[in-house]
Amino acid sequence: MPAAIEVLHINKTFHVRKAAYAGLKGTIGAFFKGIRAQTVAKVGLSDVTFVVQPGETVALIGGNGSGKSTLLSLLARVMKPDVGTVRFPASADADRPRLAPLLEVGAGFHPDLTGTQNIFFNGSILGLTRAQMQERIGDIRAFADFEDEIYYDAPVRTYSSGMYVRLGFAVAVHTDPEIILVDETLAVGDEAFQEKCYARIAQFQRDGRTIVFVSHDMAAVRRVASRVVWLSHGAVAGDSEAGGDIEPVIAAYHEYLHAQADKKQT
């Protein structure tokens, strides 16, 4: 069976410009000083390889700045790796899978449009037609489950952050994705909504869809993940592999964190 996600030897380096030379002014200034604008190469990911089979739920763990979000961005095809390939062999189009990226709370909502308008707008960004969205709008509303119907016709800038997530999540899970990418968004809804999200994730798992999520919440990781990949300084430091036990990797990660904390204290 072809893999759902195939990440092979990817490298990603960011070139961070020193603030003084940022922008046009900086470039011109640097030019007149006879120097090139100084950039600092910052390694985002180095030689990361992992293959995800369809139906796996992979949790990416690691400290801040370890490259988790960069990796998700590469999976979402928002960024391109400098070296290496990211492919989706199990998808009909191996370069363009049907993705539902939940990389930020309600990413891509337009503040001035109403909830309903944003449902259609977001759906079209995720590749669905108007007719397809029309069929799903009832389900989406039922999932978001706002207390008052009137909010669907209010601009989303008037929403609370909880409502934002509810709507964003509701749209994303109704787009029939092959692969779902989640970046710590679950934590914002109330408990009832979180339960609903977990139920939906379980449904996705039963349907054999592939999920990759980033989390610092090990309870959430233990609850849903079938596999854990630990990133440290842009490289894979631990991988429980498909079907393997996730606990040793989590334990190793915790050990590493403690060691780091101890190092700082001494």
Partner: protein, 248 residues
């Protein structure tokens, strides 16, 4: 994708602005340039009408270009989160201004009635020229949007150049002012695709303002410039597109 083009922009303010904006400017120009600077004597139709019509097309370019320039920056959260072809932003920014042209033309009707001027049926032909400013604006828009992502100063430059460029199209003054300066001056002036398009569309709609046939050669050049601008803009945009998410 179609939804984005039609729905996204233009939601907060009413379409009345599409008429009010050129109307207010036309009235002001009519007083300052038409009346005080006597330009109205050189134009065969009421000066307000002359300006209003020209501004409809100029605004498509000017507002379209400045919106397109900001379009990538304005959608940072989308660019860093979801992948889809990014040219949607500058293109939809410009196309949404086409709606303004439509409403502006509706606003033209009461003006025509008020002044008792009848447009030629060739106005339909004039509308067929719209792809020229559209391609030109979208091409420049893609270039500027891209540049603005890397250098945020670009939007100020664009605003400034657009301000200066208002003098380069025949809205504040009669074209006769240019053609009186000789053949060469006129030819040079008409190298600006926006100047040709505005003048050509106006001459088609109001044949009394001048001979359209005189402009066909310049129109061909303008069409070529627009096409080249469009494809150049698209090529540059696509070249830098993979790096957008890192730079915002």
């Amino acid at each position: 994708m179609r939804d984005i083009k039609t729905r996204y922009k233009q939601s907060a303010l009413g379409y009345a602005w599409a008429v009010l904006n050129p109307l207010i400017f036309a009235a002001t120009y009519a007083v300052v340039f038409g009346f005080l600077l006597k330009q109205r004597d050189m134009v065969a139709i009421p000066f307000t009408l002359y300006v209003y019509f020209g501004l409809l097309i100029w605004n498509l370019f000017a507002i379209g270009l400045s919106t397109a320039t900001e379009s990538l920056i304005a959608h940072v959260s989308l660019i860093t989160k979801v992948y889809f072809p990014r040219e949607v932003f500058p293109i939809s920014a410009v196309l949404s201004k086409l709606v303004d042209v439509g409403f502006g033309l509706i606003g033209l009707v009461p003006l025509l009635l008020f002044y008792g001027v009848a447009p030629s049926p060739k106005i339909l032909l004039a509308l067929c020229l719209l792809p020229i400013p559209l391609l030109f604006t979208i091409g420049l828009g893609m270039l500027c949007a891209c540049a603005n992502l890397f250098y945020r100063d670009v939007r100020y430059v664009v605003t400034m150049i657009l301000g200066l460029m208002t003098f380069s199209v025949p809205n504040m003054y009669a074209v006769k002012l240019i053609s009186d300066r000789g053949e060469k001056a006129f030819a040079l002036y008409m190298l600006n695709p926006m100047a040709v398009t505005i003048e050509a569309m106006r001459r088609l709609t109001f044949p009394q303002t001048g001979d359209f046939a005189e402009l066909t050669g310049y129109l061909a050049i303008a069409g070529a410039i627009s096409l080249v601008t469009f494809f150049a803009g698209y090529a540059v945009f696509k070249h830098y597109e993979p790096r957008f998410a890192e730079f915002v």
